[in-house]
Point group: C2
Chain length 127, copies 2
Amino acid sequence: MNISEAASRAGLPPKTIRYYEEIGLVAPRRDTNGYRSFTEAHIHKLHFLARARGLGFSIEDCRTLLALYEDAGRASADVKSVAQDHLAQIEAKITELTAMRDTLTELVQACAGDHRPDCPILKGLET
Amino acid sequence: MNISEAASRAGLPPKTIRYYEEIGLVAPRRDTNGYRSFTEAHIHKLHFLARARGLGFSIEDCRTLLALYEDAGRASADVKSVAQDHLAQIEAKITELTAMRDTLTELVQACAGDHRPDCPILKGLET
DNA sequence: CTTGACCTTCCAGTGACTGGAAGCCCTATG
DNA sequence: CATAGGGCTTCCAGTCACTGGAAGGTCAAG
């Protein structure tokens, strides 16, 4: 199957699939005309990547997870370790964003938002 | 004052200050030796930028906020509008990350994390 | 035979820095 | 006075994961 069908099957843009090939995450064969030719196994792999990326794993994490996925002799501890590290990063990010949100919410609520120049938001940024 | 003192006063790395000059956010004068020379007003501005960036505003938002900050005739509504848009983006991001966290937490909890290959995390990524 | 939808590669840009190299400048010390 | 160190300068490249666009080859339908 050609790239656009693979793309819609995997839930990824064609451009992204070409990029994944470039960085060695998938290796479709080529037809005689030079077109990429994807098999079901490729779709499966691309779908896995789409899911992992959707959960925020980095490309390098995805590479690791894919290798574990294809290694029948893996230890689930290795997978869990990658996932836990990532989870910790997500939680740190949520904490950071929540702090920003709380501060911003206060400032926004304090601001009249009218034609006058007096603005608690700017004052809050000053300090 | 030279860049390293300005940096510690403003709470920004020297590299970042040079970058901010390059993109036109600050314009320190130069001493005869070519060194940047920062005044209190520059520190004030840089500090404002550090705070705004710390709250997650983009550089372009910062540029806008700085212009409003320096415009005595601004309407606070304009500031509030920028802040509200940003707040909405932060909230969207928190929602996204929270969904990721919830899914990942479930998967991690379901995974034994031992020497065996059976792994609910990989299964979860498959589907 | 042409049209239009595919496909290919390659190059450049995104955001906001950050690291590093090469080289000038200033101060203090021997 | 020479030198050693630290700080300053510019410029270039790299980060991350794509994304847009140009130039050109390929294929099926009418």
